[in-house]
Amino acid sequence: MKSKFSFVLTLFSTMLLLCIGFLLLTFAEKESRPSGNENRMLQGFPELSGENILSGNMSGEFENFLSDGFFARNLLIGVSDNCLGVFSCQTEEDIALLEGGNDELQGLVDGQTGTSDDEQPEGGAVQTAPDNDGADSAPGDSAPADDENYDELPEDGGELEEVDPDSAAQSENYGFYFRKANGKLGMVFTTLESNRRKTARALNAYRAELPEDGNVFYMMIPLKRNYSPIRNDDKYVGWYSNVEDSLREQTVDGVHVLNVPEILEPHLDEDIYFPIDHHWSALGAYYVCEELMRIQGLPMAPYEEYNYKKVYGHNYNTGVKGWFDIIYPLQKVNTTKVYQKVKEMDAVFVDYSSEFYTAFFNGRILPWTKIETGYSTGRKALVIGDSFANIFTPYLCPYYDEVHMTDVRENHYDQRECGGWIADLIEYHGIDDVYILMSYANAANSPTSYKRLEQCLHG
């Protein structure tokens, strides 16, 4: 016998494990619930049905239940991450490189190669920029918050393929361009006809789910990296996009495709992008919303009348600092996270203490966010978007009783978490208008637009 103490210690450890197990069974949260930190639903106690047991699902769900319900889970995750990082020589550039590989990057890769599910590129330098919304999480998150980490398009725009405006108007060249001082266009990216066709088909499918007077508004928003060269390099004097023309030709009445570059072009010398990361600013979003309301014949309060807070923020990856506006809705709203269709829990609309774009919804709008605006208009809206939707939504509040939000990007929309496909939820919540707004990382050549939008509607 090695020693009595060793035996007692080992026995005690084993029994301690059992005690933890029973305490978890007794006290862990039994209900499934969303986690803001992890951006997913945490597992509740599994369903004890014959079907669930025989399929083997219960064992996995039970394991997740123990793991998700573990005491001080977030703390333990942090500690284990720190343990892994103790002997790491990782640099900030490494973080940007490795953690940037989320689904927006998938959009980038698809865009660069210009491939779609069933078609090869039609020619032209097809290139889109990543969004990297993964960066929008809490401080300490190691994901890059700045599209400038990706340098396919340098600050000065680099040497872009030059085309005549006439040439750009041809179908195979529908894309996004910089206007050059010499009257030519510098091609930033073109889009594939098949991707445009599928995106238009998805938009039409959304329209079909709405009431007769319902509308679908689709907006593709340039990233800051599509804007910086114009601010920084004299050879560029503006931007130009004609992808929208193609979509308009293929969509039905009630689908409105806004040309965001066209709307923002007169304001390119204003601060329409965040100084510290890749998102658009409250001002940029305001201009687009103003146009939306003009289309619908609705008035909009001047920009100055909204509530803003000037925040001196910084990008925790790049260290870039600067002032920016956080916009609050005109009147107090009630925000909840909705999951499994009918379950709700309180959520934060604007985090007053935040110094980041994550001020809105803690950077996440998952699985489904409902904002009760306090207005009585008899209409409800659904905003489907990536993180660019967050700063835009406050402007919609005065026009709807409820504004719902969700995100269809890969690994973001989960039918089980949401309690149905989007068509079910449009019907359940009585949605009248749908706003779909994506940054270029998730629009244009991204499968988020040409595939996920439609997939998430009906499954």
Binding site: M1, K2, S3, F5, S6, F7, L9, T10, L11, S13, T14, M15, L17, L18, I20, G21, F22, L24, L25, I53, L54, G56, S59, F62, E63, L66, S67, F70, R73, L76, I77, G78, V79, S80, D81, C83, L84, V86, F87, S88, C89, Q90, T91, E93, D94, L97, L98, G101
Partner: protein
């Protein structure tokens, strides 16, 4: 259920121990163990437990028939029946679709069999059932008339789903007579903790690093990326599988079973043959005792020995999976072992140890590349990148020496792969030998601290990091 799950660590395992040691009579202990073992298996796949039970019952009946029969023909027929039933089940679940689809693919026939979901552990328990029937036939072990006890031998949870493959002759006595001691409990728990930490702290971290490197088919591979990925996978699979074996052996020791070692520092081998004497020892023993020797082993001349070796290694490859890469992997080792045995043996014995260990490591890493990809073109791409080449627009070109992503991964996971490489060396046996039984109290105290630290850190990582599947489960 896997050993490194919270369900096992916090509920199943402590409850097994609690009930197991509640009474001291063996009937109770075997009963508890059988019930919990069946629960352990059924937890993930309740339906497939029937396949295992059917296999055991048929072999139980065959073995009793073999024992009772005096006719040699009848005994042989019963043995054949038992073997065919067991192998047919394995074939049906694991190989039928692969062979059928390969056949139709080669001849351009428009027909396809769906790939069935493999019952967990079928490759392991089929072999164990076979060892029982064959051992009884050979008179190497007594027949087991107690069906629940035979069921316990097959289904005993520590070795049920990922080995080690326990031969019936090795444990038949322990099924009816074994003792559990306090020392066995302490040693077993310590061994379990070592295995758990190998799996959770090392194998899983290597897997996380590997996941981030651009592999063949995911972009252009650099020479550094190809080598680093091969190294990481070599470390991951070793710590994953040897960790599982450590846990199984540790639990066995607590329960009074003495399972044989399954790994013996394979990455210090001086030849491929030696590597396979140190890697997955129970599988090597099985193929030696139940396939190679019955085929005639090396007793029937050089040509027959070569054929036997190639057959055994092809089967070893296919045992790991129904895919062409596994067949290639087996054939690769078959050819290497034949070469070593008949051509290179004398040269290897004259070379310095460092050279032979290094060469063996390179060959083994190459083997793991074949093992990793089920797509053979990806195997080719990766192996070419390891020698600095790539196929670009249909012709060979030089691959880049390094890429940013691999460099970033190396910087991110600086410590664990280094620690893993050190842990591949037989440092603990060397220290034990050096101590020679001195400083018992100190080493015991150190072992206690190490045990607590391993358990706590493993638990922390299981909760904090999500990557947790056992590689060997799929076999």
């Amino acid at each position: 259920m896997v050993f490194s799950s919270l369900t096992f660590l916090l509920l199943f395992f402590p409850l097994v121990l609690l009930f197991y040691f509640l009474r001291s009579d063996l009937k109770w202990k075997n009963g508890v163990l059988l019930v919990f073992s069946l629960l352990f298996y059924a937890w993930g796949e309740p339906v497939w437990i029937l396949a295992m039970i059917v296999s055991v019952i048929i072999n139980y009946a065959c073995a009793i028939g073999i024992d009772r029969s005096k006719s040699k023909t009848a005994r042989r027929l019963l043995l054949t029946a038992g073997v065919i039933v067991s192998v047919a089940m394995l074939f049906y679940f694991k190989y039928a679709a692969f062979l059928f689809n390969s056949f139709t693919g080669i001849f351009g026939i428009a027909a396809e069999l769906p790939v069935l979901k493999l019952p967990i552990g079928i490759s392991f328990y089929t072999f164990q059932v076979l060892t029982y029937t064959v051992d009884v036939y050979r008179g190497k072990a007594p027949v087991m008339r107690n069906l629940p006890r035979l069921m316990l031998y097959i289904s005993c949870f520590p070795q049920l789903i990922a080995g080690p493959i326990v031969q019936y002759a090795d444990v038949c006595n322990e099924l009816s007579d074994r003792t559990s001691t306090a020392e066995g409990f302490v040693n077993g728990m310590r061994r379990f903790a070592v295995g758990l930490s190998k799996k959770v702290l090392i194998a899983n971290v290597c897997a996380m690093a590997l996941e981030q490197i651009p592999l063949a088919g995911e972009g252009e591979m650099s020479v550094l990326g190809a080598w680093y990925a091969a190294l990481l996978y070599s470390l991951q699979i070793y710590f994953d599988f040897s960790g599982y074996s450590d846990m199984a052996i540790g639990i066995g020791e607590i329960l009074g079973f003495r399972y044989k070692e399954n790994f013996n520092y394979p990455y210090i081998s001086r030849s491929v043959s030696e590597f396979w004497r140190r890697w997955h020892i129970s599988l090597g023993s099985f193929f030696r005792d139940y396939v190679y020797i019955p085929l005639g082993g090396n007793r029937r001349g050089t040509v027959r020995t070569i054929i036997n070796l190639l057959v055994v290694w092809s089967l070893t490859g296919l045992w790991h999976g129904a895919d062409w890469n596994f067949a290639l992997w087996g054939a690769y080792y078959g050819v290497l072992i034949v070469l070593e045995r008949f051509v290179l043996n004398k040269i290897i014995s004259k070379l310095p140890g460092a050279v032979t260990i290094f060469t063996t490591l390179i060959l083994v890493m190459g083997g793991w590349v074949i093992f990793y990809y089920t797509d053979l073109s990806a195997v080719g791409t990766h192996l070419l990148a390891m020698i600095g080449l790539q196929v670009r627009e249909g012709s060979l070109a030089f691959a880049s020496l390094a890429d940013e992503v691999t460099m970033a991964v190396i910087r991110k996971y600086t410590f664990m792969p280094l620690l893993a490489m050190i842990a591949c060396l037989p440092i603990v046996p060397a220290v034990k030998k050096w101590l020679g039984g001195r400083h018992q109290k100190l080493t015991n105290a150190f072992a206690n601290v190490f045990f607590i630290a391993e358990m706590a850190l493993s638990l922390l990582f299981i909760i904090g990091q999500s990557y947790n599947p056992f590689i060997y489960f799929r076999f």
